[in-house]
Amino acid sequence: MTCRISAKACGIGQKYIEADCLLSDQELKRLKEHKYSAVDNSWLDELCMKRWWEFVITLCPMWIAPNLITWIGLVINLITVLVLSSFSYSATESAPSWAYLQAALGLFFYQTLDAIDGKQARRTGSSSPLGELFDHGCDSMTQVFVTLNICYAMSLGTVPYGVLIVSVISVVMFYCAHWSTYCTGQLRFSKFDVTEAQMSVISVLLFTAIFGNGVWETPIAFGYTLKYFVVGSSFLVSLYQIHGYVHVIFSGGVGKNGSTIAGTSVLFPLFPLLMVVIPFIMIYNKTESTVFDDHITLFSLCFGAVGAKATNRLVIAHMSKSELRLWDWIYVGPLALMLNQYYDFVFDEYVLLWIATIYCYTSLFIYCTVVCRQFCDFLNIYIFVLGPRKSKSN
């Protein structure tokens, strides 16, 4: 009986993985044929960062795999955010100066490692579509970490909807960038883009470390504080950026009749994005207690995980030239929270938030693991080790 139940459970798990995670053979072939294509007009990159990165790359040993570099950057970023969140859990408290400083350093390290992994790949002759996929995957996960850094530094938890709005804008921006890539086949960086944004965040963190996070409460004009001024400016820049992406999406489609590189509608990627954003806004809006304000970090992490998986699917659809699917089993997390509210809070919201967050990260982790493993099997390589596999043949 136990064996039968176990076999049944394995069967269900296998079916879940097939439905949710696996690529078809055709998609794998197209993924293998993918070539990285990007246009980089970034101002800071041209000014000084490329020289810095080219200098750093010479310090890296030749035996380090590029994906390992990306992974280490992600882990550093995660650790520094966790340290800061332990002091500033609801984004309203002050943290010690050194916590902000180490978060700034962590973000700088992450940025550097994220930038040099591609150079290391070319240096060691191990460039592959998996590297780009892994890079974008790690980027999608760190979105929420970088955003939380900002929220902690500025104590945005004191502003109604502050953390949620910043998180939503961050996820939307990142998703739209890859959405435009899905349409044009080319990743585009403008003059003020990822690097500039990251340096801005680092500056904010350093500023907070030096002057304390009370500095953001300084009145500027018309009764608004410095915090609102900075957030408002960021919002305007984001709108400008999103407008640029939308323009590219509508006019730059390289497929038939202006469709995407997969030949699908340029509008369809909007719906997974709405499926990520709308439930969380509804959940936050509907709640009658302050549980989501008190635990805004947990709520943001849950939102970040769902956003990351949607973005990952978009990246894979772009690289494998395949169509997107609307449904994803990770949506069960936010749907469970909505259901609980629909039925007038049958379960304790805090406990359910924990369960949903754990479920979402488990789903995201399984997805990333299975996709990477499948692709490594197909390309006959390892993720974190250089050189082809020895036992197999293509």
Binding site: K15, A19, S265, E323, W327, Q341
Partner: protein
């Protein structure tokens, strides 16, 4: 409904070779130009996603051959002889799809008459209304059974005919169930009407789900015909003795409760049979469906139809959905009909199902309204969403039928030579 003739040995070997090719997994491919599109970009995208088939799917639909096993008891006993006699009276110029559509309209009309007298399924209608419904169901059954014979008689058999037939069946499911609810006055039983519709829809969907897995439509000894005759008998009894008949007490229970219990048991038995077929008889690779997809996935669209309506019905604090039970179950029937139609199309074109359908915006709107504590008046929203879901169903049926007719170079309701200027 025909019995499959046994195949010769030579054909059997060829069939085996084709089987391996037939049941490989076939993901949806990209769309090509189609004159079914109307020219506006947004509308075209909606139609492509929601209503149209891809070129490969159309080709596989071309290759579809009707396959059924019919061991129905009443069919063998007398109905086939009756239907074969009836078909002789049809003029040769009548298109089979026209017969199917007329049957559906007759069924719809008779249900609407009863609905007029029994809006909450608790009232008593005149005797002639029940008789009219019984007669309408009989006419529908006859037309539904003879359309295939007419098609073969005039040499106009095509996959479109089967698709149209099943499509009308799915739309009429809720009408037939409402007939039963009116006769038994199930509105006075808590959740009675909704549960009856739920069972009816699930059973119909599961039958086609097993067809999607095996490639063959199977009728048991007690099946559609017997069920329809049971309903006709029930309506006639109600017509003669009045609906109070079903409230007569036997062993402390009303007759209607005993009937419901018997139907429940029969349904469970039938459903278990279908599920057994689904789990063991998949003809694709590794026991998968005719499209090479998982045999379990069709459960998801079914749940996507059923679960929202169960939630809406159970969540409602007022009695609005009991007072407007007819509109509520009509809306439920439309959403279920579209899900079933998608399953049928997936079976005939050997393609995978998609989980999302824009018709779900109807129940989702009702749920969101409840989620935000009834900001919009519920009866009003129920009516608007019912109009929306029927519009969605109608658009889907119209466009897919038109696309298939264009592709095959035929007309839907005419028996003529193939359309001039068209090519496959």
């Amino acid at each position: 409904m025909v019995t499959t003739r046994s195949r010769s040995k030579n054909n059997r070997a060829a069939d085996k070779d084709r089987s391996k090719e037939r049941y490989a997994y076939r993901p949806r491919s990209t769309f090509e130009e189609s004159d079914a599109l109307v020219g506006f970009k947004t509308i075209d995208h909606y139609l492509q996603y929601d209503c149209l088939l891809t070129r490969e799917e159309l080709h596989r639909l071309d290759e579809h051959v009707y396959s059924a096993v019919d061991t129905s008891w009443l069919d063998e006993l007398c109905m086939k002889k009756f239907w074969e006699a009836v078909v002789l009276y049809y003029p040769l110029w009548v298109a089979p799809n026209l017969l199917t559509l007329i049957g559906l309209i007759v069924n719809l009309t008779t249900v609407l008459v009863l609905s007029f007298y029994c809006p909450t399924a608790t009232e008593t209608a005149p005797a002639w209304a029940y008789f009219l419904a019984a007669f309408g169901l009989f006419v529908y059954q006859t037309l539904d059974a003879t359309d295939g014979k007419q098609a073969r008689r005039i040499g106009a058999s095509s996959p479109l005919g089967e698709l149209f037939d099943h499509g009308c069946d799915s739309a009429s499911q809720v009408f037939v169930t409402l007939n039963v609810c009116y006769a038994l006055q199930l509105g006075s039983v808590r959740c009675g009407v909704f549960i009856a519709c739920l069972i009816s829809v699930s059973l119909f969907y599961t039958a086609h789900w097993s067809t999607y897995c095996t490639g063959q439509l199977r009728f048991a000894r007690f099946d559609v015909t017997e069920a329809q005759w049971s309903i006709i008998s029930m309506l006639l009894c109600t017509s003669l003795f009045g609906p109070k008949l079903w409230s007569v007490g036997i062993f402390g229970y009303a007759l209607k409760h005993l009937l419901l219990a018997c139907v429940g048991l029969g349904t469970i038995y039938q459903a278990l049979g279908y599920l057994s077929v689904i789990f063991t008889d998949g003809v694709g690779k590794n026991g998968s469906t005719v499209a090479g997809t998982s045999v379990l996935f069709p459960a998801c669209p079914l749940l996507a139809v059923i679960v929202p309506y169960c939630m809406i019905y159970s969540k409602s604090a007022s009695g609005v959905y009991d007072d407007l039970i007819v509109i509520f179950v009509l809306q439920f029937g439309a959403v279920a009909a579209k899900a079933t139609n998608r399953l049928i199309v997936a079976h005939m074109s050997r393609s995978e199902l998609s989980l999302w359908d824009w018709i779900y915006m109807g129940p989702i709107a009702l749920m969101i309204n409840q989620y935000y504590d009834i900001k919009i008046n519920e009866p009003t929203l129920l009516k608007y969403t019912t109009v929306y879901v029927y519009a969605s169903l109608l658009v889907y049926c119209l466009f897919i039928t038109r696309q298939i007719c264009d592709h095959m170079g035929i007309y839907c309701f005419k028996v003529t030579a193939p359309r001039a200027g068209s090519s496959k």
